[in-house]
Amino acid sequence: MSDGKMLDIAHISFLDMIKVMITMSGAASAKGTLIRNAISTAESIHETDYATFEDFLAAIENSTNPITQVEGKASHQGEFVFGLAACPFAPSIGNYMQVFEKLPDGYADFTAEFNKPSKVTEMYRVGEGAGVSPFCSVHQPMRSAIADKIKIGGKKIKIYQLGCKAGSGKKGFADRWIEETGVSRDIVDKTLDNHMCCYLLKIEE
């Protein structure tokens, strides 16, 4: 650790805890634990029913939207595609990188594990290439699980994770969900040019 760089113990502990989990019980088990943790958090969010989609957007602007409360303000790009400017884990990653200059060992395995098709990626329509770090396995299922608690005009909503961008600038695309939703890959790509996360909100019929 270089002199003069402050270490936020909460951030460091969390990132290193993931590393230890990977070492102790493997990337798949560690991924499952983080996802269950995220779902557990989502379950404690109260149910909300917005009268219209505009009300949903307004709740993002005034930060009363449950999704906004956990990830910050997303911006609507049109056609129900959203872009999130800042990754909620960016401060943790930034603090760790500032001190240790690279992310812990095992993170690449974890991320690859999250991108594999699985029951949970299917259930929450996440991963499948849209994971760029282990934190995506917390963030993406949590957002989808919170969305399960939200209705618009009495109808359920679903979130499809379309893409994500790492701090290095590398983009990850969930081609399966892009194809399934019919959203153009170009739109996802352009959204990721100036956002870290891209997803689609679908109001069920």
């Binding site: 070492t23 102790m24 019980s25 493997g26 798949a28 088990s29 560690a30 991924k31 499952g32 634990t33 996802i35 269950r36 594990e113 594999k116 699985s118 029951k119 949970v120």
Partner: protein, 393 residues
Amino acid sequence: MSKNDELKKILIVDDEEDMIWSLQKNLKSERLKVVVLTASSGEEALEVLKNNTISLVVTDIKMPGISGLDLLIEIKNRYPYTSVIIMTAFPSNEYKKEAILRGSLHFIEKPFDINQLRDMIAYALKEDNLFKGTVAGVGLTDVIQIKCLSRVTSALRVKEDDKIGIIYFQDGRIIHAICKEMEGEEAFYSILNFKGGMLDSLNVSDMPGQTINKPVEALLMEWARRSDEANNQEEETELEQLAPGFGRVADQNINSGGTNQSATGTANVTEEDDMAELKDVLTEFTNIPGVNTACLVGRDGFLLDSIAISGIDTEMIGAIASSGFGASESMGRQLEKGQMSMSMIEYAGGPVMLSPIGDEAFLVIVAEKEANLGMIRLKIKKHAKQIAETAAI
């Protein structure tokens, strides 16, 4: 009767005249009162044995003509109660193992101190004073347990036709076994599989290194489990021959629905069919008496399918088992033990078995104490591939 007739006779066999001369001259002592006969070859030794009652043969191993090992075989065949000490200038574990299997439990490496050989001869002759013979109708496991209970230090030679195995006891603990090329536990289990034959209890002057560390109860239980498993395998093979398709309920269901993709090459197996097939295979496990729950779990701990008795939260079991399964795999990696094939956790109420299915999932089998573990293992081996294919994992 002359005094010499009362003394025990030992026979020295060596092709080196100097060695014979030296031993003949130096062996007798106040403590060791024996008549020493000599032979300079294996052939000559057999002649001496034919005409004398020899208690002990001390033979070199490398001789022209009949070697020491061949002489040992002849002695054990013709004079089973004659002890043999092998002398060798070429210490080799292979020779030693071969000689032990052929019936000699005493070795001395040339050059040796004459007192060392005297001690060994005295020890071997003491063995000659013990009861010898056969006891019919006694089970091998009974003899083993008696030896353990008696806290003896000795060896038990077990012979069935041309198969020979030796089990070594030290203070009542089984510490080593040899049988054919096998050593340790595998040799022990192999000896227990002998169907009958002869038992010899032998004193050992030179105990081998320890290769078995389990208590006798654990060894006998493991042997029983292996036998159980082998018997089940045989039964299943017989049943399979008698009724092809036994135990493949899932295959039968698909066939009856006419959607067997491999058979037609064109029909589609629907997701519902797969789910039904998966349930059928899991039922194969819960049909084993004492097995009440079978879960297929993704490695991330999310439940893929299950059959469970009421009261078991299979979602939670899957999540918890994922850590245990992952930890077992990580430990194997750390110890460089290779791929994990099964992990069993024994609880007071019965075992839980975890076994990998494909690369992405594992099976959790929850059983009662009395469940047939061999059958569970067998079913896992039999169905693992089918489950992986059906669940597309």
